[in-house]
Protein backbone atom coordinates (compact mmCIF):
# COMPACT_ATOMS: atom_id res chain seq x y z
CA UNK A 1 0.00 0.00 0.00
CA UNK A 2 1.10 3.55 -0.51
CA UNK A 3 2.53 5.09 2.59
CA UNK A 4 2.10 8.67 3.57
CA UNK A 5 5.02 10.97 4.00
CA UNK A 6 5.41 13.74 6.45
CA UNK A 7 6.58 14.71 9.86
CA UNK A 8 3.80 12.78 11.58
CA UNK A 9 5.54 9.50 10.86
CA UNK A 10 8.68 10.64 12.60
CA UNK A 11 6.72 12.03 15.54
CA UNK A 12 4.87 8.78 16.11
CA UNK A 13 8.08 6.82 16.00
CA UNK A 14 10.10 9.22 18.09
CA UNK A 15 9.19 8.20 21.66
CA UNK A 16 9.80 4.53 20.98
CA UNK A 17 12.99 5.17 19.05
CA UNK A 18 14.28 7.49 21.76
CA UNK A 19 13.46 5.04 24.53
CA UNK A 20 15.21 2.22 22.74
CA UNK A 21 18.21 4.32 21.85
CA UNK A 22 18.50 5.67 25.37
CA UNK A 23 17.96 2.40 27.18
CA UNK A 24 19.16 -0.22 24.72
CA UNK A 25 21.80 1.33 22.50
CA UNK A 26 23.43 3.86 24.81
CA UNK A 27 23.86 1.30 27.62
CA UNK A 28 26.18 -0.61 25.34
CA UNK A 29 28.56 2.29 25.40
CA UNK A 30 28.44 2.21 29.15
CA UNK A 31 29.03 -1.50 28.98
CA UNK A 32 32.01 -1.00 26.73
CA UNK A 33 33.37 1.68 28.99
CA UNK A 34 32.84 -0.46 32.07
CA UNK A 35 34.63 -3.34 30.44
CA UNK A 36 37.67 -1.16 30.04
CA UNK A 37 37.85 -0.02 33.64
CA UNK A 38 40.82 -0.87 35.80
CA UNK A 39 39.87 -4.16 37.36
CA UNK A 40 41.45 -3.09 40.58
CA UNK A 41 38.54 -0.78 41.34
CA UNK A 42 35.18 -1.67 42.86
CA UNK A 43 31.74 -0.16 42.97
CA UNK A 44 32.48 1.29 46.40
CA UNK A 45 35.66 3.10 45.59
CA UNK A 46 34.76 3.76 42.00
CA UNK A 47 36.49 2.66 38.87
CA UNK A 48 39.21 4.23 36.88
CA UNK A 49 39.09 4.20 33.13
CA UNK A 50 42.37 2.76 31.98
CA UNK A 51 41.42 1.35 28.57
CA UNK A 52 42.24 -2.02 29.98
CA UNK A 53 41.73 -4.11 26.85
CA UNK A 54 43.59 -6.73 28.75
CA UNK A 55 40.36 -7.38 30.60
CA UNK A 56 39.06 -9.12 27.54
CA UNK A 57 42.04 -11.40 27.32
CA UNK A 58 41.83 -12.22 31.03
CA UNK A 59 38.20 -12.97 30.82
CA UNK A 60 38.48 -15.31 27.85
CA UNK A 61 41.36 -17.13 29.46
CA UNK A 62 39.45 -17.61 32.69
CA UNK A 63 36.01 -18.40 31.32
CA UNK A 64 36.37 -20.02 27.93
CA UNK A 65 34.78 -23.19 29.21
CA UNK A 66 31.47 -21.63 30.25
CA UNK A 67 31.52 -19.70 26.97
CA UNK A 68 31.87 -22.80 24.87
CA UNK A 69 29.40 -24.63 27.03
CA UNK A 70 26.87 -21.85 26.46
CA UNK A 71 27.24 -22.19 22.71
CA UNK A 72 27.09 -25.95 22.89
CA UNK A 73 24.06 -26.24 25.19
CA UNK A 74 22.34 -23.38 23.39
CA UNK A 75 23.00 -25.03 20.06
CA UNK A 76 21.74 -28.41 21.19
CA UNK A 77 18.64 -26.90 22.69
CA UNK A 78 18.00 -25.00 19.46
CA UNK A 79 18.23 -28.17 17.42
CA UNK A 80 15.82 -29.99 19.71
CA UNK A 81 13.52 -27.00 19.68
CA UNK A 82 13.61 -27.04 15.90
CA UNK A 83 12.58 -30.67 15.72
CA UNK A 84 9.87 -30.47 18.36
CA UNK A 85 8.78 -27.03 17.28
CA UNK A 86 8.53 -27.96 13.64
CA UNK A 87 6.34 -30.95 14.45
CA UNK A 88 4.09 -28.77 16.59
CA UNK A 89 3.95 -25.88 14.12
CA UNK A 90 3.26 -28.22 11.21
CA UNK A 91 0.51 -29.98 13.14
CA UNK A 92 -1.19 -26.75 14.01
CA UNK A 93 -0.86 -25.32 10.52
CA UNK A 94 -2.02 -28.37 8.59
CA UNK A 95 -3.55 -31.01 10.78
CA UNK A 96 -6.09 -29.44 13.06
CA UNK A 97 -8.43 -27.55 10.78
CA UNK A 98 -10.67 -25.15 12.61
CA UNK A 99 -9.01 -25.77 15.97
CA UNK A 100 -5.95 -23.93 14.76
CA UNK A 101 -6.39 -20.80 16.84
CA UNK A 102 -7.27 -22.70 19.96
CA UNK A 103 -4.20 -24.89 19.61
CA UNK A 104 -2.01 -21.87 19.12
CA UNK A 105 -3.41 -20.46 22.29
CA UNK A 106 -2.76 -23.71 24.11
CA UNK A 107 0.84 -23.66 22.98
CA UNK A 108 1.39 -20.24 24.47
CA UNK A 109 -0.70 -20.62 27.61
CA UNK A 110 1.77 -22.65 29.70
CA UNK A 111 4.34 -19.97 29.15
CA UNK A 112 2.29 -17.45 31.03
CA UNK A 113 3.31 -19.20 34.21
CA UNK A 114 6.51 -18.02 35.78
CA UNK A 115 9.66 -19.19 34.00
CA UNK A 116 11.25 -19.91 37.35
CA UNK A 117 8.33 -21.98 38.58
CA UNK A 118 8.34 -24.06 35.44
CA UNK A 119 12.04 -24.70 35.77
CA UNK A 120 11.63 -25.61 39.44
CA UNK A 121 8.98 -28.06 38.37
CA UNK A 122 11.46 -29.74 36.07
CA UNK A 123 13.75 -30.01 39.05
CA UNK A 124 11.04 -32.01 40.73
CA UNK A 125 10.22 -34.10 37.68
CA UNK A 126 13.84 -34.98 36.98
CA UNK A 127 14.70 -35.57 40.65
CA UNK A 128 16.81 -38.56 41.62
CA UNK A 129 13.91 -40.44 43.13
CA UNK A 130 11.42 -39.16 40.65
CA UNK A 131 9.45 -41.06 38.08
CA UNK A 132 11.57 -40.13 35.09
CA UNK A 133 14.85 -41.28 36.58
CA UNK A 134 13.20 -44.43 37.90
CA UNK A 135 11.82 -45.27 34.46
CA UNK A 136 15.13 -44.67 32.74
CA UNK A 137 16.92 -46.84 35.30
CA UNK A 138 14.33 -49.52 34.79
CA UNK A 139 14.98 -49.41 31.05
CA UNK A 140 18.73 -49.55 31.71
CA UNK A 141 19.19 -46.26 29.89
CA UNK A 142 20.60 -44.86 33.07
CA UNK A 143 22.99 -46.49 35.49
CA UNK A 144 22.19 -47.50 39.08
CA UNK A 145 23.67 -44.29 40.41
CA UNK A 146 22.69 -42.29 37.41
CA UNK A 147 21.08 -38.93 37.76
CA UNK A 148 19.57 -36.43 35.40
CA UNK A 149 19.84 -33.39 37.61
CA UNK A 150 23.26 -31.82 37.77
CA UNK A 151 24.03 -33.19 34.32
CA UNK A 152 24.08 -31.47 30.97
CA UNK A 153 21.05 -33.52 30.00
CA UNK A 154 18.82 -31.75 32.47
CA UNK A 155 20.16 -28.34 31.51
CA UNK A 156 19.61 -28.89 27.80
CA UNK A 157 16.19 -30.38 28.49
CA UNK A 158 15.28 -27.31 30.51
CA UNK A 159 16.55 -24.94 27.84
CA UNK A 160 14.65 -26.80 25.15
CA UNK A 161 11.45 -26.64 27.12
CA UNK A 162 11.70 -23.01 28.08
CA UNK A 163 12.59 -21.67 24.66
CA UNK A 164 10.22 -23.78 22.62
CA UNK A 165 7.67 -21.00 22.02
CA UNK A 166 10.39 -18.77 20.58
CA UNK A 167 10.82 -21.40 17.90
CA UNK A 168 7.22 -22.48 17.42
CA UNK A 169 5.71 -19.07 16.77
CA UNK A 170 7.96 -17.90 13.94
CA UNK A 171 7.88 -21.39 12.45
CA UNK A 172 4.13 -21.45 12.56
CA UNK A 173 3.88 -18.02 10.97
CA UNK A 174 6.01 -19.22 8.10
CA UNK A 175 4.46 -22.67 7.63
CA UNK A 176 0.94 -21.33 7.84
CA UNK A 177 1.59 -19.16 4.82
CA UNK A 178 2.40 -22.11 2.61
CA UNK A 179 -0.32 -22.67 0.05
CA UNK A 180 -1.71 -26.22 0.47
CA UNK A 181 -2.24 -26.42 -3.23
CA UNK A 182 1.50 -26.47 -3.78
CA UNK A 183 1.70 -29.73 -1.89
CA UNK A 184 -1.23 -31.08 -3.85
CA UNK A 185 0.56 -30.09 -7.04
CA UNK A 186 3.71 -31.89 -5.96
CA UNK A 187 1.66 -34.95 -5.18
CA UNK A 188 0.07 -34.78 -8.61
CA UNK A 189 3.61 -34.71 -10.00
CA UNK A 190 4.53 -38.05 -8.44
CA UNK A 191 6.12 -36.91 -5.17
CA UNK A 192 5.29 -39.03 -2.12
CA UNK A 193 4.64 -37.18 1.18
CA UNK A 194 8.25 -37.41 2.36
CA UNK A 195 9.67 -36.09 -0.90
CA UNK A 196 6.93 -33.49 -0.98
CA UNK A 197 8.01 -32.32 2.44
CA UNK A 198 11.67 -31.94 1.56
CA UNK A 199 11.10 -30.43 -1.84
CA UNK A 200 8.20 -28.11 -1.14
CA UNK A 201 7.30 -27.57 2.50
CA UNK A 202 10.75 -27.38 4.05
CA UNK A 203 12.24 -24.87 1.56
CA UNK A 204 9.19 -22.65 1.81
CA UNK A 205 9.33 -22.66 5.59
CA UNK A 206 12.99 -21.65 5.71
CA UNK A 207 12.39 -17.99 6.59
CA UNK A 208 10.56 -19.16 9.70
CA UNK A 209 13.29 -21.67 10.46
CA UNK A 210 15.95 -19.02 10.27
CA UNK A 211 14.15 -16.44 12.38
CA UNK A 212 13.05 -19.08 14.88
CA UNK A 213 16.63 -20.30 15.16
CA UNK A 214 17.90 -16.79 15.79
CA UNK A 215 15.21 -16.06 18.36
CA UNK A 216 15.94 -19.33 20.17
CA UNK A 217 19.70 -19.74 20.01
CA UNK A 218 20.55 -16.26 21.13
CA UNK A 219 18.58 -16.08 24.37
CA UNK A 220 19.20 -19.75 25.12
CA UNK A 221 22.96 -19.43 25.03
CA UNK A 222 22.77 -16.42 27.30
CA UNK A 223 20.51 -18.08 29.84
CA UNK A 224 21.76 -19.15 33.26
CA UNK A 225 18.64 -20.04 35.17
CA UNK A 226 18.34 -23.51 33.73
CA UNK A 227 21.98 -24.23 34.37
CA UNK A 228 21.77 -22.95 37.91
CA UNK A 229 18.60 -24.77 38.94
CA UNK A 230 19.00 -27.97 37.01
CA UNK A 231 22.75 -28.30 36.70
CA UNK A 232 25.82 -28.31 38.87
CA UNK A 233 28.74 -25.86 38.79
CA UNK A 234 30.18 -28.11 36.08
CA UNK A 235 27.41 -27.03 33.79
CA UNK A 236 27.82 -23.33 34.37
CA UNK A 237 27.13 -21.22 31.30
CA UNK A 238 28.59 -17.85 30.48
CA UNK A 239 25.37 -16.11 31.53
CA UNK A 240 25.80 -17.45 35.02
CA UNK A 241 29.38 -16.25 35.11
CA UNK A 242 28.33 -12.74 34.14
CA UNK A 243 25.58 -12.76 36.72
CA UNK A 244 27.83 -13.81 39.56
CA UNK A 245 30.60 -11.46 38.53
CA UNK A 246 28.12 -8.63 38.91
CA UNK A 247 26.30 -9.63 42.05
CA UNK A 248 28.72 -11.82 44.01
CA UNK A 249 32.22 -10.84 42.99
CA UNK A 250 31.34 -7.23 42.11
CA UNK A 251 33.89 -7.49 39.34
CA UNK A 252 32.14 -5.12 36.96
CA UNK A 253 34.86 -4.81 34.32
CA UNK A 254 35.14 -8.54 33.85
CA UNK A 255 31.40 -8.99 33.78
CA UNK A 256 31.04 -6.18 31.28
CA UNK A 257 33.78 -7.60 29.08
CA UNK A 258 32.07 -10.99 28.94
CA UNK A 259 28.74 -9.36 28.16
CA UNK A 260 30.31 -7.39 25.36
CA UNK A 261 31.80 -10.48 23.82
CA UNK A 262 28.43 -12.20 23.95
CA UNK A 263 26.69 -9.19 22.45
CA UNK A 264 29.18 -8.71 19.63
CA UNK A 265 28.78 -12.35 18.68
CA UNK A 266 25.04 -11.96 18.53
CA UNK A 267 24.99 -8.75 16.58
CA UNK A 268 27.35 -10.38 14.08
CA UNK A 269 24.94 -13.27 13.61
CA UNK A 270 21.96 -10.98 13.18
CA UNK A 271 23.80 -8.81 10.68
CA UNK A 272 24.75 -11.84 8.61
CA UNK A 273 21.09 -12.80 8.57
CA UNK A 274 19.98 -9.30 7.71
CA UNK A 275 22.44 -9.02 4.87
CA UNK A 276 20.90 -12.07 3.29
CA UNK A 277 17.25 -11.47 4.03
CA UNK A 278 16.78 -7.76 4.59
CA UNK A 279 15.14 -6.21 7.61
CA UNK A 280 11.45 -6.33 6.68
CA UNK A 281 11.27 -10.04 7.49
CA UNK A 282 12.60 -9.45 10.99
CA UNK A 283 9.40 -8.09 12.35
Amino acid sequence: MTRRTGAVGYLLLLPTALWLILFFVVPFYSLLATSLYDPAGSDFRGYEMTYAWGNYVDVVQAYWQPMLRALWYGGLATVFCLVLGYVLAYTIAFKVGRWKNLMLVLVIAPFFTSFLLRTLSWKLILADDGIVVDTLQFLHLLGEDGRLLATPIAVVAGLTYNFLPFMVLPLFASIDKIDHRLIEASSDLYANPVVGFFKVTWPLSLPGVVSGTLLTFIPASGDFINAQLLGSPNQRMVGGVIQSLFTDANDYPAAAALSMILMVGIVAMVLVYVRRAGTEELL
Partner: protein
Protein backbone atom coordinates in the same frame (compact mmCIF):
# COMPACT_ATOMS: atom_id res chain seq x y z
CA UNK B 1 -6.03 -50.94 8.58
CA UNK B 2 -4.64 -49.73 11.85
CA UNK B 3 -1.32 -49.16 10.13
CA UNK B 4 -3.04 -46.85 7.71
CA UNK B 5 -4.76 -44.89 10.48
CA UNK B 6 -1.45 -44.48 12.23
CA UNK B 7 0.28 -43.30 9.08
CA UNK B 8 -2.41 -40.76 8.31
CA UNK B 9 -2.52 -39.42 11.81
CA UNK B 10 1.13 -39.82 12.74
CA UNK B 11 2.00 -36.18 12.52
CA UNK B 12 -1.09 -35.17 14.43
CA UNK B 13 -0.28 -37.66 17.19
CA UNK B 14 3.27 -36.41 17.43
CA UNK B 15 2.07 -32.84 17.53
CA UNK B 16 -0.32 -33.57 20.35
CA UNK B 17 2.43 -35.37 22.25
CA UNK B 18 4.65 -32.31 22.00
CA UNK B 19 1.75 -30.14 23.14
CA UNK B 20 1.19 -32.42 26.13
CA UNK B 21 4.89 -32.15 26.91
CA UNK B 22 4.54 -28.39 27.27
CA UNK B 23 1.94 -28.88 29.95
CA UNK B 24 3.89 -31.31 32.14
CA UNK B 25 5.62 -28.75 34.37
CA UNK B 26 2.41 -26.80 34.61
CA UNK B 27 0.68 -29.82 35.99
CA UNK B 28 3.45 -30.04 38.53
CA UNK B 29 3.02 -26.42 39.53
CA UNK B 30 -0.68 -26.93 40.06
CA UNK B 31 -0.06 -30.13 41.98
CA UNK B 32 2.57 -28.59 44.21
CA UNK B 33 0.23 -25.80 45.16
CA UNK B 34 -1.61 -28.38 47.18
CA UNK B 35 1.55 -29.72 48.74
CA UNK B 36 2.28 -29.85 52.45
CA UNK B 37 6.03 -30.21 52.46
CA UNK B 38 7.70 -32.35 55.05
CA UNK B 39 10.80 -30.22 54.87
CA UNK B 40 11.50 -26.80 53.41
CA UNK B 41 14.57 -27.89 51.56
CA UNK B 42 13.35 -30.92 49.75
CA UNK B 43 11.14 -30.06 46.80
CA UNK B 44 8.86 -33.04 46.69
CA UNK B 45 5.21 -33.82 47.05
CA UNK B 46 4.50 -35.06 50.53
CA UNK B 47 0.94 -34.50 51.59
CA UNK B 48 -2.19 -32.84 50.29
CA UNK B 49 -3.39 -29.62 51.87
CA UNK B 50 -5.52 -26.64 51.10
CA UNK B 51 -3.64 -24.42 53.50
CA UNK B 52 -1.55 -22.85 50.77
CA UNK B 53 -4.73 -21.69 49.11
CA UNK B 54 -6.51 -20.46 52.19
CA UNK B 55 -3.56 -18.50 53.44
CA UNK B 56 -1.46 -17.54 50.43
CA UNK B 57 0.31 -14.67 52.11
CA UNK B 58 1.68 -16.81 54.91
CA UNK B 59 4.95 -16.97 53.01
CA UNK B 60 6.84 -14.03 54.31
CA UNK B 61 7.50 -11.29 51.80
CA UNK B 62 5.77 -13.05 48.95
CA UNK B 63 2.67 -10.90 48.79
CA UNK B 64 4.75 -7.73 48.98
CA UNK B 65 6.87 -8.94 46.10
CA UNK B 66 3.73 -9.93 44.21
CA UNK B 67 2.30 -6.47 44.71
CA UNK B 68 5.46 -4.88 43.39
CA UNK B 69 5.39 -7.07 40.31
CA UNK B 70 1.78 -6.20 39.58
CA UNK B 71 2.42 -2.50 40.08
CA UNK B 72 5.42 -2.48 37.78
CA UNK B 73 3.62 -4.71 35.32
CA UNK B 74 0.66 -2.38 34.97
CA UNK B 75 2.77 0.73 34.54
CA UNK B 76 5.18 -0.91 32.12
CA UNK B 77 2.26 -2.25 30.11
CA UNK B 78 0.71 1.18 29.91
CA UNK B 79 3.93 2.80 28.77
CA UNK B 80 4.99 0.12 26.32
CA UNK B 81 1.52 -0.28 24.79
CA UNK B 82 1.02 3.42 24.15
CA UNK B 83 4.49 4.04 22.77
CA UNK B 84 4.61 0.80 20.83
CA UNK B 85 1.22 1.34 19.22
CA UNK B 86 2.24 4.78 17.99
CA UNK B 87 5.43 3.31 16.57
CA UNK B 88 3.53 0.50 14.84
CA UNK B 89 1.30 3.07 13.14
CA UNK B 90 4.39 4.93 11.99
CA UNK B 91 5.98 1.80 10.56
CA UNK B 92 2.91 0.63 8.68
CA UNK B 93 1.45 3.90 7.47
CA UNK B 94 4.33 6.26 6.93
CA UNK B 95 7.39 6.55 4.78
CA UNK B 96 10.53 7.70 6.49
CA UNK B 97 14.26 7.56 6.16
CA UNK B 98 16.12 4.98 8.15
CA UNK B 99 13.46 2.31 7.95
CA UNK B 100 16.00 -0.53 7.94
CA UNK B 101 17.81 0.83 10.95
CA UNK B 102 14.53 1.23 12.77
CA UNK B 103 13.51 -2.33 12.01
CA UNK B 104 16.86 -3.52 13.28
CA UNK B 105 16.61 -1.37 16.40
CA UNK B 106 13.22 -2.84 17.23
CA UNK B 107 14.26 -6.40 16.49
CA UNK B 108 17.44 -6.52 18.55
CA UNK B 109 15.90 -6.35 22.04
CA UNK B 110 13.76 -9.36 21.18
CA UNK B 111 16.77 -11.36 20.13
CA UNK B 112 19.30 -10.24 22.73
CA UNK B 113 20.05 -12.38 25.75
CA UNK B 114 18.59 -10.89 28.87
CA UNK B 115 21.88 -11.05 30.71
CA UNK B 116 23.44 -8.72 28.16
CA UNK B 117 20.56 -6.24 28.25
CA UNK B 118 20.54 -6.35 32.02
CA UNK B 119 24.30 -5.85 32.27
CA UNK B 120 24.38 -2.92 29.95
CA UNK B 121 21.52 -1.17 31.70
CA UNK B 122 23.28 -1.69 35.00
CA UNK B 123 26.46 -0.30 33.50
CA UNK B 124 24.50 2.74 32.32
CA UNK B 125 22.90 3.38 35.69
CA UNK B 126 26.17 2.99 37.53
CA UNK B 127 28.09 5.17 35.12
CA UNK B 128 25.41 7.87 35.36
CA UNK B 129 25.70 7.90 39.09
CA UNK B 130 22.45 6.16 39.92
CA UNK B 131 24.10 3.16 41.53
CA UNK B 132 22.50 4.03 44.82
CA UNK B 133 19.06 4.52 43.36
CA UNK B 134 18.49 1.18 41.73
CA UNK B 135 14.96 0.12 42.41
CA UNK B 136 11.41 0.70 41.25
CA UNK B 137 12.16 3.25 38.55
CA UNK B 138 15.15 1.50 37.05
CA UNK B 139 13.13 -1.70 36.89
CA UNK B 140 10.26 0.13 35.22
CA UNK B 141 12.56 1.71 32.64
CA UNK B 142 14.02 -1.67 31.80
CA UNK B 143 10.63 -3.33 31.49
CA UNK B 144 9.23 -0.71 29.14
CA UNK B 145 12.36 -1.11 27.08
CA UNK B 146 12.07 -4.80 26.43
CA UNK B 147 8.30 -4.82 26.07
CA UNK B 148 8.28 -2.15 23.36
CA UNK B 149 9.50 -4.46 20.61
CA UNK B 150 6.85 -7.05 21.30
CA UNK B 151 4.10 -4.46 21.29
CA UNK B 152 5.32 -2.99 18.00
CA UNK B 153 5.44 -6.38 16.33
CA UNK B 154 1.99 -7.43 17.55
CA UNK B 155 0.18 -4.21 16.66
CA UNK B 156 2.05 -3.92 13.40
CA UNK B 157 0.89 -7.28 12.16
CA UNK B 158 -2.71 -6.45 13.04
CA UNK B 159 -2.43 -3.11 11.32
CA UNK B 160 -0.77 -4.51 8.21
CA UNK B 161 -3.86 -6.58 7.52
CA UNK B 162 -6.14 -3.59 7.80
CA UNK B 163 -8.22 -2.73 4.75
CA UNK B 164 -7.61 0.94 4.05
CA UNK B 165 -10.57 1.27 1.75
CA UNK B 166 -12.58 1.35 5.00
CA UNK B 167 -10.93 4.59 6.00
CA UNK B 168 -11.50 6.02 2.55
CA UNK B 169 -15.16 5.05 2.77
CA UNK B 170 -15.44 6.80 6.12
CA UNK B 171 -13.97 10.01 4.73
CA UNK B 172 -16.20 9.73 1.69
CA UNK B 173 -19.06 9.62 4.19
CA UNK B 174 -18.12 12.91 5.83
CA UNK B 175 -15.97 11.64 8.70
CA UNK B 176 -13.03 13.93 9.50
CA UNK B 177 -9.66 12.24 10.00
CA UNK B 178 -10.18 12.24 13.76
CA UNK B 179 -13.64 10.72 13.48
CA UNK B 180 -12.35 8.18 10.99
CA UNK B 181 -9.66 7.09 13.41
CA UNK B 182 -11.87 6.72 16.48
CA UNK B 183 -14.92 5.24 14.77
CA UNK B 184 -13.33 2.96 12.19
CA UNK B 185 -9.60 2.41 12.61
CA UNK B 186 -9.31 2.10 16.36
CA UNK B 187 -12.17 -0.36 16.97
CA UNK B 188 -10.74 -2.67 14.34
CA UNK B 189 -7.15 -2.50 15.56
CA UNK B 190 -8.08 -2.70 19.23
CA UNK B 191 -7.90 -6.51 19.57
CA UNK B 192 -4.27 -6.33 18.44
CA UNK B 193 -3.52 -3.60 20.94
CA UNK B 194 -5.19 -5.58 23.70
CA UNK B 195 -3.18 -8.67 22.82
CA UNK B 196 -0.01 -6.62 22.86
CA UNK B 197 -0.90 -5.27 26.29
CA UNK B 198 -1.48 -8.74 27.70
CA UNK B 199 1.79 -9.97 26.24
CA UNK B 200 3.53 -6.96 27.68
CA UNK B 201 2.16 -7.57 31.15
CA UNK B 202 3.19 -11.19 31.22
CA UNK B 203 6.69 -10.39 29.96
CA UNK B 204 7.08 -7.78 32.65
CA UNK B 205 5.60 -9.88 35.42
CA UNK B 206 7.77 -12.85 34.61
CA UNK B 207 11.08 -11.10 34.06
CA UNK B 208 13.92 -12.15 36.32
CA UNK B 209 17.34 -11.68 34.80
CA UNK B 210 17.15 -8.03 33.82
CA UNK B 211 15.15 -7.12 36.89
CA UNK B 212 17.53 -8.84 39.26
CA UNK B 213 20.53 -6.89 38.07
CA UNK B 214 18.79 -3.54 38.24
CA UNK B 215 16.60 -3.89 41.31
CA UNK B 216 18.75 -2.72 44.13
CA UNK B 217 16.82 -3.60 47.27
CA UNK B 218 13.40 -3.85 45.64
CA UNK B 219 12.01 -7.35 45.30
CA UNK B 220 9.68 -8.56 42.59
CA UNK B 221 7.90 -11.87 42.53
CA UNK B 222 10.40 -13.70 40.29
CA UNK B 223 13.22 -12.40 42.45
CA UNK B 224 11.39 -13.71 45.47
CA UNK B 225 11.08 -17.16 43.90
CA UNK B 226 14.75 -17.19 42.98
CA UNK B 227 15.78 -16.30 46.45
CA UNK B 228 13.42 -18.92 47.82
CA UNK B 229 14.87 -21.54 45.53
CA UNK B 230 18.13 -21.26 47.43
CA UNK B 231 16.52 -21.15 50.84
CA UNK B 232 13.57 -23.44 50.43
CA UNK B 233 10.53 -22.77 48.28
CA UNK B 234 7.28 -22.03 50.07
CA UNK B 235 4.42 -23.79 48.36
CA UNK B 236 2.43 -20.57 48.15
CA UNK B 237 4.47 -19.57 45.11
CA UNK B 238 2.83 -22.43 43.30
CA UNK B 239 -0.51 -21.00 44.28
CA UNK B 240 0.48 -17.79 42.56
CA UNK B 241 1.71 -19.75 39.56
CA UNK B 242 -1.54 -21.66 39.32
CA UNK B 243 -3.59 -18.51 39.61
CA UNK B 244 -1.51 -16.89 36.86
CA UNK B 245 -2.09 -19.89 34.68
CA UNK B 246 -5.82 -19.95 35.30
CA UNK B 247 -6.23 -16.24 34.68
CA UNK B 248 -4.30 -16.31 31.43
CA UNK B 249 -6.05 -19.43 30.20
CA UNK B 250 -9.42 -17.90 31.01
CA UNK B 251 -8.60 -14.69 29.19
CA UNK B 252 -7.17 -16.40 26.18
CA UNK B 253 -9.72 -19.18 25.85
CA UNK B 254 -12.69 -16.89 26.37
CA UNK B 255 -11.31 -14.59 23.71
CA UNK B 256 -11.16 -17.56 21.38
CA UNK B 257 -14.68 -18.70 22.30
CA UNK B 258 -16.06 -15.20 21.82
CA UNK B 259 -14.63 -14.91 18.35
CA UNK B 260 -15.89 -18.39 17.48
CA UNK B 261 -19.36 -17.47 18.58
CA UNK B 262 -19.20 -14.33 16.50
CA UNK B 263 -18.22 -16.35 13.44
CA UNK B 264 -20.92 -18.92 14.18
CA UNK B 265 -23.61 -16.26 14.18
CA UNK B 266 -22.51 -15.24 10.75
CA UNK B 267 -23.09 -18.61 9.13
Amino acid sequence: MIGRWIREHLVLMLGLVVLAYTFIPIAVVVLMSFNDPASRNVYRFDAFTLDNWTDPCAAEGMCAALGKSIEIGLLATLGATVLGTLAAFALVRYDFLGRSSTNLLIFLPMASPEIVMGSSLLALFVASGFAGQLGFWTILIAHVMFCLSFVVVTVRSRLAGFDDSLEQAAMDLYATPAQTFWRVTFPLVFPGILGAALLSFSLSFDDFIITNLNAGTTTTFPMYVWGAAQRGVPMQVNVVGTVMLVISMVIVVSGEVASRRRTAKLT
